[in-house]
């Protein structure tokens, strides 16, 4: 069974897309969890500032999410463009 070059490239792109999104999801997941944990701690200490803290948490999480979104973009590029 001879495997064509184009087939190998496509196979590598699919596997690469899976790896990119899979591994790329680890960091943001843990980081955003830490942010949420600390926000809960802060709200436990100072419930009056709950609104401010929630907003800050969401902004912080959105920033730490950006690497996850990069992985998503790279994975989609690998799947549909390359």
């Amino acid at each position: 069974m001879a495997i064509e070059g184009a087939d190998i490239v496509k196979a590598a792109a699919f596997l690469g897309a899976g790896l990119a999104m899979g591994l790329g999801a680890i960091g943001p997941g843990i980081g955003e969890g830490m942010a949420a944990a600390k926000t809960c701690e802060a709200i436990g200490k100072n419930p009056k500032e709950a609104g401010l803290l929630t907003r800050t948490m969401l902004v912080g999480q959105a920033v730490s999410e950006s690497t996850g979104i990069y992985s998503l973009v790279v994975a989609l590029l690998l799947l549909f463009v390359v």
Binding site: A11, L19, G29, I30, G33, G44
Partner: protein, 324 residues
């Protein structure tokens, strides 16, 4: 050098069985070690409580052990299984089953050791709350087993379902992918559930009257931490039960394998992160009971955001399976 199909099946089954037990022992050993370490620390603080601490250490370890017992069952099945319709796909399904159970037992083993250890420390700190602590520890570490149970279900399906009519070429990758998807994504969820359960035992020891609130928050937090493992279960069900079109190209196989790898790795981070969020919320529900509802809501919002990367991974996996 040509081998017959039976040789390949035996090879896959034995390697899979070895991996199932070898990897499956990692988590439970770490978790039980943690429990024992905390129990010793507790005894150092108050040697008179040795009877109670010893008892709850053993109970905690017995539950933490169950993930590796699941792995043992699967490993034994793999060593002695006698497939009714042996074909080349059977080899890949048996290997996938071993991989799935081995990886899937790691997280639950580590996670369910944590509440046991915290319960031992808590009993010394607050002997009057020993009953509440033991109940909470049992519930917490039993819920931690859920990802391992999912992994066992996938492994059993892979062992017992007959794939001999399916086309070999993309299906072999789909079955290994199914194992990887469930096994890897169970790691994060198991550990995350353990963080939440540990914090709840600590919290109850600090503030025994908060037990009901703390247990409820812990259960919701653990349930949400399990979501990545559930996505992994979904992807591996799709990979196992969808009828794949025959195609000898390498790319068709790699798309299915890639889908499994993507969801598997993608579930690790969000599982751990959700567990941390739940840990923070549970800890502070115990200290500030009057704001329990608010804390639970913030926890859920934080977890929902931290889960989004697992959802991206699921989307990519589904695209790999259905679109390409």
């Amino acid at each position: 050098m040509a081998y017959d199909v039976q040789t390949w099946i035996n090879l896959a089954a034995y390697v899979g069985g070895g991996l199932a037990m070898g990897l499956g022992a990692v988590g439970a050993a770490i978790g039980e070690g943690y429990t024992a370490a905390q129990a010793n620390e507790a005894l150092g603080q108050n040697p008179e409580m040795s009877g109670d601490v010893f008892k709850s250490m053993l109970v905690g370890q017995a539950i933490a052990e169950s993930a590796s017992i699941f792995a043992l069952v699967i490993a034994i099945l793999l060593l002695f299984v006698n497939p009714s319709a042996p074909s080349a796909i059977t080899a890949s399904s048996l290997f996938g089953a071993g991989l799935c159970m081995g990886l899937g037992a790691i997280g639950s083993g580590v996670g369910s050791g944590i509440p046991g250890g915290q319960a031992c420390l808590g009993i010394v700190r607050q002997p009057a709350a020993a009953g509440k602590l033991t109940t909470n520890m049992l519930i917490g570490s039993a819920v931690c087993q859920t990802p391992a149970i999912f992994a066992m279900v996938v492994a059993l399906v892979l062992i017992f379902i007959d794939y001999s009519n399916a086309p070999l070429f993309p299906t072999w990758a789909a079955l290994i992918g199914a194992g990887l998807s469930m096994g890897l994504s169970a790691i994060g969820s198991g550990m995350g559930g353990g963080f939440a359960a540990g914090a709840s035992c600590e919290g109850i020891a600090r503030q025994p009257e908060s037990a009901a609130n703390v247990t409820t928050t812990m259960l919701v937090g653990q349930a949400v931490s399990q979501t990545p493992a559930i996505f992994g279960l979904l992807i591996s069900f799709v990979l196992m039960f969808k009828s794949h079109e025959a195609s000898t190209t390498l790319s068709a196989s790699m798309a299915l394998l890639g889908a499994g790898i993507c969801m598997g790795f993608g579930g690790i981070g969000p599982g751990i992160g959700n567990g941390m969020a739940a840990e923070g919320a549970v800890r502070w529900v115990a200290r500030n009971m009057s704001h329990a509802g608010e804390l639970m809501r913030i926890m859920l919002v934080g977890q929902a955001v931290s889960q989004s990367t697992a959802i991206y991974a699921m989307v990519i996996s589904l695209v790999l399976i259905f679109v390409l």
